[in-house]
Point group: D2
Chain length 148, copies 4
């Protein structure tokens, strides 16, 4: 089967639109602006901004609505779709990322986090022999992490 | 040139190791556990956990160190490398994601965000004619977003 | 800096448009149709097709033009951009993948390959001790591969 | 649920190991070497090679086995897993890409393609009004592409 996947870093460009669909599903939509900057062959700085939509479901939709504001930097990953719509005789096309993960991008700020979906039972990394030893690593080995 | 890119959602599996390298660069390293679950042909639930390293530089390293704790769900995207190391006669291999973006994954909780890297000048999306109109959208159009 | 990356599998939907730009750069453009199929909650099969553009430069452009035909399955990976254009008073939006790699997708057929860009010096994988031994693997170890 | 996805361009580093599993599934495995090159702050060229495994199933496995040779450039995309194995008392770790798509990378050569999996019914792109018009485009619109 065919696939179209990706990830994006950028900024929230619109207020989060949060709703409960007829099916009962919680949905959140917002637009992201991702600006790429580079130096051209002329030595001059160039930039190009791409706008895309992000769609979230379930607890992700609720947390996105309560956590994100316009202008905040985000990182989003998931499946991509290109939607073709027609309204009032004009055709519109939009690229939509169906988000598997969304988070405020720590490249631009710090966060506090409050868990709302319980963690599953912990999974521990196979014994220290398999883990690369970094020079100067503190004695403590990998912690036990909930495999949520 | 060759490339190896990806994205992962999972949980922070180790304490963040935060340091200033000899070059003066701020670096943060941590391990992520990503657990995939599926139903086998036998109808039984199966799961498989992958462990990988994430490496961050600059402001991202500092914010990751102050924001993330063991067990927190994260979304990470960036370039991938497979490192081969030898220590005390034993060879180790590790997959490292050089992060472009890291964030607490809003699929599992909510966040507050405090910007530490200033935003650049705003970029506005090309006029409403280009934007798909969603049924029932409030009148407010796309907000002006800093193109950070 | 912000990033937008992805990969897609689908079929070539248009003839390859191959040209030499004013700068002397070799460029090839084509559209890809990526159809996702799934079973809905109603048990009925559903499908959704996304159309995107792929843009190639240099030797990749030349080889794409000589190798790909409409209808062929492809795998493409690279950076993504959303372009906004206006023509005759109407706005158009298009998602463009700036390809790092393009190949006929072997999920749907077989290929013969003729190299046109010389390989660089070989790179050998670190000794067999680092390589996982698969049960029943033939004695031959990893071959020496050109690190092109 | 957690996800780990990616794509890689590189060279086939080992002979393709092709077999029929006890379940009857056709499987192909091979290693890929992906070499990244960059200029360091010292102005000197640097390179780093990552080795990973690629695993294919079904028709993809058969076509990979009949089409790819050691040294050929490839583009691969799919889900990623990090496997931990133990053999003769030593632990091994390997990153495996479960391929959705594999193709000879046209950045380095040209291909001929012979379809082995029939195409599905064609899907046509929504009418030309939705398609961006490139200056100088021939009159012919998008071709009808099988939505395989």
């Amino acid at each position: 089967m065919n696939d179209f996947h990706g990830w994006v870093t950028g900024n929230v460009a619109t207020a989060i639109r949060h709703r409960v669909a007829a099916s009962g599903a919680h949905v959140a939509d917002f637009r992201v602006a991702s600006t790429r900057r580079w130096n051209g062959r002329d030595g001059q700085p160039h930039e190009s901004t791409s706008f895309l939509s992000v769609r979230c479901f379930g607890p992700l939709a609720d947390n996105v609505a309560s956590s994100l504001d316009v202008g905040q930097p985000v990182v989003v990953a998931g499946r991509l779709e290109v939607e073709e719509n027609e309204r009032e005789g004009t055709r519109y096309r939009d690229v939509v990322m169906l988000a598997s993960g969304v988070g405020p991008n720590l490249a631009f700020g710090s966060t506090t986090f409050r868990r709302t979906v319980p963690a599953r039972r912990p999974a521990a990394e196979p014994g220290p022999a398999a883990a690369p030893q970094q020079p100067g690593t503190p004695a403590a080995g990998p912690g036990r992490a909930p495999a949520a």
